[in-house]
Structure formats: structure tokens, C-alpha cells
Symmetry: C3
Subunit: 151 residues, 3 copies
């Protein structure tokens, strides 16, 4: 459900270990509120020199710091329309990515698009409601399995 | 108008024929409600081993089934805010992709973002309203041509 | 803040100069309303033959004109819900890209997704409000620096 597309120059996230480390560190962001770990999909999309521009300038060695752009889609759970709650999500995001960007001398930007939960499916199933028994089952199995909503 | 971005491991949609077969099978999803076929744009974005993670795990041969992630944008027509209608869109989607994912032993996930129709353009034109004479003309020509809205 | 993802066949935007020219020409679209130039991020994502389909057809030399797909995210400022304002944004977009697509014999499509400003961050900062002193500071420095909102 969260889909993370990470557009990055090849000088960042060079080896698979650095990619997987980030992909794993973000799991608690979602599993802490009960979402199954397998909901979290992360795509690292390398942007070779000359294909990515910030303010019209190339994202290459001419920059003081390489720039990484995170584009997130949130589907299962939306942030309530409340300044404090949005701030909390933002701060949590920054806390998680810090070791993977700031601490490595990278510059970064992120934004989140929230999309309609009812236009979402995994392996042919409509995912169980947030906080439901079905969701607990999915989290436990860590895969999409038949579930029934007991209202 | 629908834009389909399909993030897939190289072990899936290996040849062009398998890509084009999917791109063609989804057309009726849209043309059945009068939309021109050329609105349907499908991007297959290959994700080499080590660039895509599900629940922190690599999307490679270590998984039981390769995982394909569909990210759709719908612009021309939005689903009415009604559970039954959303369910119908979801079921139609699953029906269409089944031969291309489930039947091939893949795992898959999709979600749809619906965006503002008035922030959309093709070849310099604002596309004609849904169900209009202009849209019928575009569907018939299967390209963007001058049209006039006769209210 | 605006994130431009440009999906294009390799026969278009062949050299870096043509990419950078577009990336620079779009800056005034945003800086004219006070936004810092470094907010503007442009990704050119090449789509080799066989990976991109329009109406089920390959986006290759079999087409009369190569097709370029612009997918934009707007975060900092949303267009007011007003037909005339949406038209103005559309016309401004077309004016800017014309030399880079129409005048080169390409076909093109764009759409804009508008996402929640409060789910957005740069270098660990929440960007300053539109039109604020903080934003003027960021525009002047052309980078994310500590700022304080003086209400």
C-alpha cells in the first residue's frame, strides 16, 4: 500500500545492501499501526547523469550534495486533516530516512499522495479494513489470503 | 488518460508480445464507456534485481512468486463515491489482468489515483467532455483533433 | 515541489542539452509566482521500444509522431477550483512545452496531480508557506535553510 518511488543518482544507494537497509527501516512506520509488512513496496529508480534536473541544474557531481527524490503513495490509511497529525507523519518520515540521506551527505525531498482505498487490490483481494481481524490475519501470514469481514 | 505504470521484475513481461497483449486487453475497460483508445498509455518499467523491495525483501528468485506493481492514474472519468461502483471497477480490473499475472504465477498489486480532469491536455487540446460529440469524434479518429463543444 | 516525470522514447530528448533546455524553460512557470527555482524537479525517464504503448500500439518508429507523456505533481500551490484558472494553467503549460514537443514533431500528453502540502518536506524542513518571508528567503538562497514563520 505504501508505494515508495525513489529517484536517485547512481552515486547514491550504490549497492543493494544500502537499498535494502532503507526498505527495511521504513517497515515500522507502517507495521506500528498494524499494517502488514508486505504492503510496503519500494522502488529504487536510478537516474543517470543528465536525466534529472533540480531548478534547471543537473543532478550530478557539479552539485554540492547529490539529490534524492522520494515520491510516496499512501492508500490504506490517510492522515486525518489536522496540522499536528500531518506534522507527526512528516517528522516520523524524516527520522526514518535521516541515516540513509542526511547522514550520508545527500539532499532530499519527499511528498505523499493519498489515494482512494477502494481503488486498491492485492492478488485479487480487496485488502481488509484497517484494524480488522482480516488485517491481523494478513499481517500474521504476511501475505494476501482469503479473509472475511465480521461486522 | 488512464496512465498505467507497471513496475515489474525482468522475469515477468519478458518479451514485447506479452507487454502488448496486456496493453491491448485493457483497452475495452475504457473504450466500453466511450473513451478513445489512444487515451490509454501503458509504461512497463523494468526493475532489475535489487531495485524493488516488498516488505523489505528483494523482488527476485528468492520469492515464491515474482511481484508486479500496477500504479494507475485516472483522469477523464472518476468513479462515483459509492462502494458498489468502486467494487465494480476493482473487479473489472482483476478480470482483465488475471491472464497476465495470476495465470502466470505472479503476485500483483494495483491502486488508482484519480486526478483533476481540467489539469489535463493532449497535443495542446483540452480533451472533450465525457460523452460529448467531440469525444465521439476523437474516438472515431483515434487521435486528438480540433473539436467544438456544442452545448 | 513540482515533480515532472517525463516518459519519452529514446528518439526524443536525445541529448542532455535538449533535456536541460526544457528543465530550464519551465522554471518561470513556478518562479513567477514566487516559488524557489530549486523546487522544480524534472525526471526524464527513457522508454525503450516495446516498453510504452498508446492505445495498444508501440511507441516507436511505426507511429507518425513519437509520443511523450508528462506526469506532474503539484504540491506547494494548488489551482483554485475555477474553470478559468484551470484553463490558464493548461495554456501556460502548453506555451512552455511547445518548442520542446510540438515544434519538434512530437505528440504529447500531460496531467497534473495535486497533493497535500503538509505531507511534503525538503532536507528535513517543512517548506515555508506560499508568499511568506521564509519562502522569499528560500527563493533568494535557492536552497532549503532554517526559516521562521512570523505570523
Amino acid at each position: 500500500m505504501p508505494l515508495w518511488n525513489i529517484y536517485h543518482p547512481p552515486s547514491t544507494f550504490v549497492d543493494d545492501a544500502s537499498k535494502q537497509a532503507l526498505a527495511r527501516d521504513i517497515l515500522p512506520f507502517y507495521t506500528a499501526i498494524g499494517l502488514p509488512a508486505f504492503y510496503v513496496v519500494v522502488n529504487f529508480i536510478p537516474m543517470p547523469a543528465g536525466t534529472m534536473y533540480i531548478g534547471g541544474e543537473r543532478n550530478d557531481e557539479s552539485r554540492a550534495r547529490p539529490f534524492v527524490r522520494f515520491a510516496l503513495d499512501h492508500i490504506a490509511v490517510h492522515t486525518p486533516d489536522d496540522d499536528a497529525q500531518y506534522r507527526r507523519v512528516r517528522e516520523r518520515f524524516e527520522e526514518i530516512v535521516k541515516p540513509h540521506v542526511a547522514d550520508k551527505g545527500y539532499s532530499w525531498e519527499f511528498h505523499v499522495a493519498e489515494t482512494e482505498r477502494r481503488l486498491w487490490g492485492i492478488d485479487g483481494f480487496a485488502p481488509p479494513p484497517w484494524g480488522s481481524e482480516g488485517e491481523k490475519l494478513w499481517a500474521e501470514k504476511n501475505e494476501a489470503v482469503p479473509w472475511e469481514d465480521k461486522k
